[in-house]
């Protein structure tokens, strides 16, 4: 009888232990699951953080680039301010030059011509003050940076090839920028 009881007690005890073990195992599995989920969350959040940081860096870089570009543009605008006004005055200068090339026969004409010469010189010096200068092309080597070739003629004896033999229309520069290229005839 005692043996049976002991056996029963032993069995119950084992069952209890096994049950506890099972609950323990279940708890461990649940905890493991939770841990795995949290770990995954951490990984996901880290990835999101990395992306967000990267985007922030790129946005910053873009702002810096934009600022640099804007500053550069402003500097250019200031340096070449009046470019369009100067360009529109060039035909005025052209016409004054044409007027000056007219032959005059009487004193009245001479006086008028002198007056036009004064106006022309004033305009030239005013433009020079604002760094608008005429391109010096005649007799020099053809330079496509400041001149546009509209005609070629055969080169004569003693002439260097690629020389500008005629300036059909004067060219002008504003600082280092070409306002209008000179129209030239090149000997080749």
């Amino acid at each position: 009888m005692a043996k049976e009881e002991t056996a029963n007690v032993a069995e119950e005890a084992t069952e209890e232990v096994e049950a506890t073990q099972a609950t323990d195992e279940q708890a461990t599995t649940e905890a493991d699951d939770q841990l795995a989920t949290l770990n995954q969350q951490i990984t996901d959040l880290q990835a999101q953080l990395a992306t967000a940081e990267d985007q922030a860096l790129r946005a910053q870089a873009e702002i810096q680039n934009m600022t640099k570009r804007t500053k550069k543009e402003q500097a250019q605008l200031l340096k070449y301010e009046g470019q369009s006004l100067a360009k529109s005055l060039l035909p005025v200068l052209d016409n004054l030059k044409r007027a000056l090339s007219i032959e005059v026969t009487d004193e009245h004409g001479e006086q008028l011509k002198k007056g036009i010469q004064m106006v022309h010189d004033q305009l030239v010096s005013s433009l020079k003050e604002h760094h608008v200068e005429e391109v010096d092309a005649l007799g020099k080597s053809f330079d496509p940076n400041t001149q546009q070739a509209v005609q070629t003629v055969p080169v004569e004896d003693g002439q260097e090839p690629e020389t500008v033999v005629e300036v059909l229309q004067a060219g002008y520069t504003l600082h280092d920028r070409v306002l209008r290229p000179a129209m030239v005839v090149v000997a080749q």
């Binding site: 934009m66 470019q83 070739a149 070409v178 090149v186 080749q188």
Partner: protein, 94 residues
């Protein structure tokens, strides 16, 4: 992964333009002469390559100047032969 330096090029038959994205807007980049478009011309001279306005201005004096090449795109049998000392090819088929 693509770099953030992205520009858009409009390579036209006569003129080309270049723009960059600023935020969400495209912004045209001006050439050194302040122009918003640049002629689609290239010239080869003395081993040098010149493009744009400069190339256009000396087109008459230089037979090795190529302009409006796009208008010959798809043209059967069209080739261009130029002397360009610093390139491997002397014959182009657009």
């Amino acid at each position: 992964m693509a770099s953030n330096k992205i520009i858009g090029i409009d390579l036209g038959t006569t003129n080309s333009a270049v723009a960059v994205m600023e935020g969400n807007e495209p912004k045209i980049i001006t050439n050194p002469e302040g122009g918003r478009t640049t002629p689609s011309v290239v010239s080869f001279k003395n081993g040098e390559i010149q493009v744009g306005e400069v190339a256009k201005r000396q087109a008459i004096t230089n037979p090795n100047t190529i302009k409006s090449i796009k208008s010959h795109m798809g043209e059967e049998g069209y080739t261009v032969e130029i002397e360009a000392r610093n390139t491997r090819h002397n014959k182009f088929q657009p």
